[in-house]
Amino acid sequence: MIYTIKSPALLIIGILMLIWGGLNNSGAVDGMQSYLQKSAYGDHMKVKEKFDAEYRVAKELAASEGNPAPDMKMKASKFDHAKADQAKLSNIFGSAFVLIGLFTLVWKPQNGSLDYFVSVVPGVAYILLIAFIVRWGLDPVFANWGKAVKDSGTLSWDFAKIFNLNYVVLGIVIGMIIVNIFKIPAWAANGIRTARFFLKTGVILLGTLYSAAELAQLGGLSVILIGIFVLGSVGIVLFMGKRMGIPNSMTAVLSAGMGVCGVSATVAASPVVQAKAEEIAYTIGTILIWGVGCMFLFPTVGHILNMGPVQFGAWAGTGILNSAQVAGAALAFDPHGIETLKVAEIFNITRVLFLPIIVLWLAAWYVKHEEGAEKVNLAQVVVAKFPVFVLGFIAMFALSSAGTFAPAGHYQGKYFSSSEVKEDKLLKGKETRALDGELTRLREPDGAQALGKYLADAHVVSDGHNVMTAEVYQALGDLAANRKMTTRQQSDILKSVAKMEGFDGVAKGSIDNAVKAATHDSKNIKEYRNWIAWLFAFGLIGLGMQITGKALKQAGGAPLIIGGIVGTLKAVGSLIVVLMFVKEFI
């Protein structure tokens, strides 16, 4: 069988990509990019204004001294980097596709591996072109639109965030639109079958983002509470799915979505249990609909029951399925404070960190149930059928925890390092004087009493013990002397103390600046996130192209019923547990 189809499509896609790369390099699409990269463009303009002013002064000074205008260049901004990245990717892939496209037009394909793998390229290019449009175009357009609607007051919430209208969901939807309305072109059919491979690669890489250190930093209660509800939800969905006779792959992928963290868990678990594209779409639909309902219902219930921020945060972080909706519910409950949001996020992150455990469980469950464990030796089946890429995910998680890919103590891609604080970020004289002044005030009897009361009332804790006033004095004194944070503990203590009522504004600003200067983004984690985003965008567009209306009808309504029952059990169960225990423990 000859797979390569002679078509100019690959060449055209390559040329389109090269044109986009060229337009970005020349600055011809800066107007469009300034809308798409709104926040980066805002920062860029601020930096540019500052640079222009500095340049004007330097030029006037040079002119007054009779020297030529100085050779100054503005430092590349986030906006410049974003454009350069788009140009780089477009040029790399565009050039490759033009070359292979020309080759396929003149080449006489013969039966064999070369023909087979060359025929894959047009499909890859087709999905990649759509992925570019989704990630660089539709994703920011929807994000801007959601924000604009919220800012205008038409809606009190950001619909793009709440309905998760990001590249993940948009990718699947675009894929579905293409296959159901326009049909897949024959020249792309072979390459579209690479979607699952790229999705698996993305799942393995996902392991780099998690670390055991993150789990260790979270409170014991959140781990226990989330553990019970995550494992419980997964177990109930698996049980109900078997009882209701829905396919194992559908049951397993739904259990990951309902138990762990919504859309990303669904995507991560899907190749583990060989879920069909329509099963993934069904699960994501169920989670999003259920989550949006919870987001509106939870704050109302929270107010009726007169819940505190910690209680509500714990409940929302446990009972709601999707990260954006957890944040939405927390902010709806407590729009002016961040306490609820902070607690909800801790619970939410804990849930996400259960993903490796659930992936392993589902892999073993699926292998056992697909093969019928009563008839065959489970160990043999596991060896023969266990998805190897899951082990890759676990290996990445282990390597990341050991600090191979990012600093071992990183938290959400950020880490503390005093030695990396740059010279120009050290505190200035005015700031250290404000800190000294605050230290003197807090040492006086009234100040010391107020500080002691604040530390006790706010439960300021460091390294597992309640912080004493002497530690605050030490931390403040050290900061003023060293002009930077030297330890994470010092940073944590001062961050809490700066929130104290009556704390001097300049001293608070100094603490914020010192914390910011000592907190660094892990470049590796940022890169991994970028790779994962591309791999998922690619894989999900390809999967979307396998979802037909007919297939969705065949999936039936059972997943929605199970999702509704388990979602209700989780929401009500977590509410009861939170009301009973949370006040005492936190």
């Binding site: 069988m1 087979y116 894959v120 296959v179 897949i184 059919a189 072979n190 390459g191 579209i192 079958r193 690479t194 699952r196 491979f197 790229f198 698996k200 690669t201 393995i204 890489l205 780099t208 060989q274 998805p387 190897v388 890429f389 082990l391 890759g392 990445m396 390597l399 191979t404 890919f405 470049k523 590796n524 890169e527 991994y528 790779w531 192209m545 396998q546 037909t548």
Partner: protein, 41 residues
């Protein structure tokens, strides 16, 4: 997408088996992971 006949691979994958797809993904992921590590450090 209507199921299409391919002599090689399946209707969902270009690889002849899931194991081969898994190993290929594993190798590709490790290349990316260590590639990123080397280029950013």
């Amino acid at each position: 997408m209507e199921p299409q006949k391919f002599e090689r691979g399946t209707s969902l994958s270009i690889f002849v088996s899931d194991r081969r797809e898994d190993f290929s993904a594993l190798i590709f992921a490790f290349i990316i992971a260590f590639g990123v590590m080397l280029t950013t450090s």
